[in-house]
Every structure is written in structure tokens, then in C-alpha cells.
């Protein structure tokens, strides 16, 4: 597995797209800090971008990589290698290289502007951490979709739809249900609803870290009580872990049964 991981990783490291992605974050970081000159404010703007963009990039790269390397994968399948090894190796290689672009791309500009000496280093680390998690989650989901669809166009379509659902439509449905069931106590419900969407969960985790929780009144207090504690933090990160593990299990199952 390590060999395949290595191969995937180096293959991606050499590809133009990884560089483009890295340079994009690098520029973004510098431009943000140049315009804002305020680390705290820059992190809030960055959050908006990370929460929306890393899933999108993860999804698109995941689907693209699967379809592009399909022939090579088939070649590998002819060798005496376990199927799960091949796909997990590719998955980890891809996710790690994308996360690396993110961490380095944003880390370098913020290091330049003295993140180390500022009090918000912890917020920044949370942000990067959440970004990496989202990359892993959405690459895994994208791989699932790609494995289930032989048709490239269909696969792409479903993948984008999946991203759209998580990033936008879910929130819309959430908002509507909150407005409709206005008369009922909703804080428990909203807590559950956020936990079941990795994008929302990441957003709330970062928002609470940035102390916007005070804006949220009673609901915020409920959230702070949950996410603010060590238990809540562990619970939410393990929820993100589950969001990686379940798609991976499905990848393994699907791959072992698939007729290539």
C-alpha cells in the first residue's frame, strides 16, 4: 500500500494542478493579509473560503483523479495486489497531497505575518485542521461516486451535486425547517442537524473558536456547552472521522465487488 501511496503522491506532486492549487492558496493568503493586515479578520474571511472551497476542490480532484488514472488502476489490478490496498493507497496519496497544498499554501503567508507570536495561532491551527479534514472527507465521497459510476459525465454531475447539497442545499432545507417549526424548541434539533453535515460542523467549530458564539444568544450557549467542552470537541472530531471512515469502508466493499 505504501508503494501505491507513494506513487500516487509523487504523481500528484509532479502534476500542474497541485501546483496551481498550492499557488492559489499562497496568493490568497498573501492578498488577504495584504488587504486586511489584521490576522483575526483574515482568518474569518479565510474560514468562508476554506469551508466552501476545500470540499469543492476535494470533490473535483477526487473524481478527476479516479477517471484519469483508471487505466493504470486496471493495470495494477492485474497484479497480485489487494484491491483495497490499491484504492486506499490512491485515496491517501491524493488527500495528503491536497492537504499539503492547503497547509503550505496558507501556512507560509501567515508565518510571514507572524502568526507564531499572535494569540490566534490556535484558531489558525483549528482552521487548517478542519480544512484538511474536509479534504479527506470529500475526496472519499468523490471516490465513492466515481466507483459507482462508469460514465464520466454522470460521475462528475453527481459529485458536483453532492458538493452543492452539502454546501448550499442542506443549509437551505435546514433554514426552512427552522422557520417552519418555529414554535418548537429547536436548539437540540439544530445541534443534530449541524453534526450531520461535515461542512456545517466545520463552520460551527471555527465560528465558536472565533468567539462569534456570543452573537448566538441562547442557541449559541447550547452550542458552546456542547462544542466548548473537551467532550464536545472530541465528539465533533470523531464525527468528522466517521465521515471519513464510512465512505472508506464503502470504497473497500465496492472495489472488492466491482467488475472492472
Amino acid at each position: 500500500m505504501i508503494k501505491i501511496l507513494k506513487y500516487s503522491f509523487y504523481d500528484l506532486m509532479r502534476s500542474r494542478w497541485s501546483y496551481a492549487y498550492f499557488v492559489f492558496y499562497l496568493l490568497l493568503g498573501f492578498v488577504l493579509l495584504f488587504l486586511n493586515n489584521n490576522l483575526d479578520k483574515a482568518i474569518i474571511t479565510l474560514m468562508n473560503i476554506i469551508v466552501i472551497l476545500t470540499p469543492l476542490i476535494g470533490t473535483v480532484f477526487g473524481v478527476m483523479y479516479y477517471y484519469n488514472s483508471k487505466e493504470f488502476t486496471e493495470l495494477l489490478l492485474a497484479q497480485p495486489v489487494k484491491r483495497s490496498t490499491i484504492f486506499l493507497g490512491q485515496f491517501i496519496g491524493l488527500s495528503v497531497s491536497l492537504s499539503l497544498s492547503l497547509v503550505l499554501g496558507l501556512g507560509i503567508p501567515f508565518l510571514f505575518y507572524g502568526i507564531m507570536n499572535s494569540a490566534i495561532i490556535l484558531n489558525f491551527i483549528t482552521l487548517i485542521f478542519v480544512g484538511a479534514f474536509l479534504t479527506f472527507i470529500f475526496v472519499a465521497l468523490a471516490y465513492n461516486i466515481a466507483l459507482s459510476n462508469e460514465n464520466k459525465i454522470k460521475g462528475f454531475g453527481y459529485a458536483i451535486l453532492m458538493w452543492l447539497f452539502m454546501a448550499v442545499i442542506y443549509d437551505g432545507l435546514f433554514l426552512i425547517s427552522l422557520l417552519v417549526f418555529d414554535d418548537y424548541p429547536l436548539d437540540q434539533f439544530s445541534l443534530f442537524a449541524t453534526v450531520f453535515n461535515p461542512v456545517d460542523l466545520s463552520r460551527i467549530l471555527i465560528l465558536l473558536k472565533l468567539d462569534i458564539s456570543a452573537l448566538m444568544g441562547y442557541t449559541g450557549a447550547v452550542f458552546k456547552d456542547f462544542f466548548g467542552t473537551i467532550f464536545g470537541l472530541i465528539a465533533s472530531f470523531s464525527m468528522l472521522m466517521l465521515w471519513i471512515i464510512f465512505p472508506l469502508l464503502r470504497i473497500v466493499r465496492k472495489a472488492s465487488r466491482k467488475d472492472f
Binding site: K41, I44, M47, N48, V51, I52, A167, V168, I169, D171, G172, F174, L175, L178, L179, D182, L186, D187, S190, T194, D200, R203, I204, L207, D211, I212, S213, A214, L215, M216, G217, Y218, T219, G220, A221, F223
Partner: protein, 410 residues
């Protein structure tokens, strides 16, 4: 000749207070403050030298001056109130007064003034007091340059720093109040001036006043208090150049206005408060040249607000600029600078060509269902905000700033 000398003495006496100066020190013939006050007559100047003096419920009913040298400490031993002044024209300065007892039924204070005129309390340091200075039914007094500090744990067993009740024409200048329940509390206090005070880290409000009319609040700083400043049921108040910073918490705000009429709120700075101004039932208030920076809500206008004018204010990077309930009610927004304004200025006159709508759809939704706030900063919310901006359906469509400024108002 004798007459002239008598005149001179008569003239100088009030200045030099040659009616007698009494000195109190631990080794002197007079070694307690109580006996000094007993011996004193109107006009006596009592000098307290370095040392610790135990005093409880000492009543001052003569027109005397008490001055402390550095290191003069009056200690209440947490057994009750310390000084009670019932006479006019009492001056107290330079003392350190500490350890007032706590009570759930009496407002024990370091200095309590009852039905007096013309008092001056200045340059004192109050430490670990239940109530610091309590003024009841008094007139024309000055409370100046005092420091009041305690460590309060909860609202029900702590007192206010400076507490005024039923008084008139009091000046509260240059005091520093921290760690109390309310920093400065006024009830039924008219025509008073509160200037250059700093109220920080108080449990409840930095400044709290009710039923007080024609007062002025100038140049004060309110920082890190439980809930900033509350102004209720008052008329004709001027609030100028005050600073409200970091009053941050789930039910916190910079300035709470409730049932306020005809006030002037000018040139204040509201920075990093959960709610900058929370206005409810306010009429004819002029908000001019204020700065609202990085607040959760810059201004929250609740019901029954009529004829308020917001003019030439700066709204910079607030999560929500305005939250609004009900109809426009003759309130006006004009010539403000909004950092989230995205319009243009083709004729280069410094005023944006398209009006700005300060109430976003999301702010309207949050008003209706507070739980929806957890969708803050989600992409979906940005999208509905944008569509509402293009064609307003839910937000009051006449609530707009017709002349949004292109640059910050200086």
C-alpha cells in the same frame, strides 16, 4: 490696628482653617478618627497621618474636612458601613478606605451621604467595598478622581461603585471603577455631569441610570463590563465622546436605551460589543458621528422607536449593521458610511449613487427565529442576502440610506 489684624485673621481663617486643625496618628493624643470627629467643630480640618484606623458607621454631622496623608487607611473590618455624612460642605480627600461589610438588606457603603449639599470627595482609593459612594437626596456635590475597586463574585452579593439616588447637580469626574456590580448607578438624578470616568470589569453595567433627566455623559470609557451601559426611562440626555468596548457576551451590549426621549448621542465609539446599541421605545434621538466598529449587531432597533435620526455615522465591519423590527416609523438613516456598501459614485461627489439597505434578509430572519443564527456565514445565507438586496421582499423597502458616503466620515 487690632481691628486690621482681626480682619486679616478673619479673612485668612477659612483658607488656613485656623478654627483648628486636628491631626490623627497612631501615637498622637488623638489616635482614632472617631475622637477627632467628636472634638471637631464646623470648619475643622482633620489630617490623618499614616496608619490603619478601624472605623464603623462613623457619623459626620459637622462641616469638616478630612484629609489623608499617603498611607492613611480607614478599615471597616468587613463589619458594616464606614462613614456616614449628614452635614453640608464636607470634604474628604486622599484616604484609602477599605473592607466594607456585605449585607443583603442594607446598602453599607464606604462613604454614604444623606441629605447634604456642597460635598467634595476626591482622590480617595476604595478597596474591597460593598457600595463605594452612596449619595441620597443631595445637591451640588463633586465626586472626583477616586478609584474604586472590588472583586465581586455574583450580582446578588455585590454593590455599586458610585450610587446616586434622588440627587441633583452632582459632578462625577475622573473616577475609575472596576469589579463592582454596577460601576456608576443613578436613579432620579437630574442635571448632573459624568465626565472622564473609566468603568471596567463590572459584573452588571458600567453605567446604569434610570429616571434621570437632563444629564450629560462625556468622554467616559466603558470596557469589559457584563453588559455595558443601560439608560432607561430618562429624558434630555447628552452622551458625547464615550467609548464602549468589548462588552461581549450572549446577553451583552454597549448601550441599552429603553424609554428614552430627546437624547443626543454623538461622537461615541462602539467597538467589539455583541450589540452596539439596543434601542427600545426611544423617541427623537439624534445619533450623529458615532463609530460602530466590529460589533455583532451595530444597532438593534426594537419596537416603538419614533423619529430617531442616524446621520454621518461610520458602520465598519459589523456582522449585522442594523436589525429592525416593525415599520420605519419616521426613523431616518442618512449620510452614513457603511463598510459593506457595494455601490458606486459616478459623479464623484462622495455620495453613493444607489441607496444602501442596512437590513439584510438574514438579519430579518434571525430576528424572527433566533436559532437560525447558526447558519451565520454559510454560503446559502450569502446567496439569499444577495437576492434580497437585488429585490427586497421581506425587509422594509423604505428603510434605506439614500446618501451613503463613499468614504469614512471623519
Amino acid at each position: 490696628m487690632y481691628r486690621l489684624i482681626l480682619y486679616i485673621i478673619g479673612f485668612l481663617c477659612p483658607i488656613l482653617s485656623c478654627f483648628g486643625q486636628l491631626t490623627v496618628c497612631p501615637e498622637c493624643p488623638i489616635n482614632t478618627v472617631q475622637s477627632a470627629v467628636e472634638k471637631a467643630e464646623d470648619g475643622t480640618h482633620i489630617l490623618i497621618k499614616k496608619g490603619v484606623y478601624l472605623v464603623n458607621d462613623l457619623v459626620i454631622d459637622k462641616k469638616i474636612q478630612i484629609e489623608g496623608e499617603p498611607g492613611a487607611i480607614i478599615d471597616g473590618n468587613e463589619a458594616g458601613g464606614i462613614i456616614i455624612i449628614t452635614s453640608d460642605s464636607v470634604h474628604i480627600r486622599g484616604l484609602r478606605i477599605q473592607n466594607v461589610g456585605k449585607s443583603y438588606i442594607k446598602d453599607w457603603a464606604a462613604i454614604k451621604l444623606h441629605k447634604t449639599k456642597g460635598f467634595i470627595i476626591e482622590n480617595n482609593h476604595f478597596e474591597n467595598v460593598f457600595f463605594g459612594i452612596v449619595v441620597e437626596k443631595s445637591k451640588r456635590g463633586i465626586i472626583r478622581n477616586n478609584t474604586i475597586h472590588s472583586v465581586s463574585e455574583s450580582e446578588h452579593n455585590s454593590g455599586n461603585g458610585i450610587h446616586l439616588w434622588h440627587s441633583k447637580m452632582i459632578e462625577i469626574v475622573g473616577n475609575n471603577v472596576s469589579g463592582q456590580r454596577d460601576g456608576i448607578y443613578l436613579e432620579f438624578v437630574d442635571k448632573s455631569r459624568i465626565e472622564n470616568n473609566i468603568c471596567s470589569d463590572n459584573l452588571r453595567y458600567g453605567l446604569h441610570f434610570m429616571f434621570s433627566h437632563e444629564d450629560e455623559y462625556i468622554n467616559n470609557t466603558f470596557m469589559d463590563n457584563g453588559a455595558g451601559v443601560a439608560v432607561m426611562f430618562s429624558k434630555k440626555i447628552k452622551m458625547i465622546r464615550n467609548t464602549f468596548i468589548k462588552n461581549w457576551g450572549s446577553s451583552s451590549y454597549g448601550l441599552l436605551l429603553k424609554e428614552i426621549n430627546d437624547a443626543e448621542i454623538k461622537e461615541n465609539l462602539f467597538e467589539e460589543n455583541t450589540i452596539g446599541i439596543h434601542a427600545e421605545g426611544t423617541n427623537r434621538i439624534n445619533y450623529f458621528n458615532n463609530n460602530f466598529v466590529r460589533n455583532g449587531w451595530a444597532v438593534k432597533v426594537r419596537g416603538a422607536c419614533f423619529k430617531n435620526i442616524f446621520k454621518q455615522n461610520n458602520f465598519l465591519f459589523n456582522t449585522f449593521d442594523i436589525s429592525y423590527q416593525g415599520n420605519l416609523n419616521e426613523n431616518q438613516f442618512d449620510q452614513n458610511y457603511w463598510s459593506s456598501y457595494t455601490g458606486y459614485d459616478l459623479d464623484k461627489n462622495g455620495v453613493g449613487d444607489i441607496p444602501y439597505r442596512p437590513v439584510k434578509l438574514f438579519s430579518y430572519i434571525v430576528n424572527r427565529t433566533p436559532e437560525t443564527i447558526i447558519l451565520l456565514r454559510s454560503l446559502f445565507v450569502d446567496m439569499i442576502n444577495f437576492s434580497e438586496k437585488v429585490s427586497p421582499i421581506f425587509t422594509p423597502d423604505n428603510l434605506l440610506d439614500n446618501n451613503p458616503m463613499m468614504r469614512e466620515v471623519r
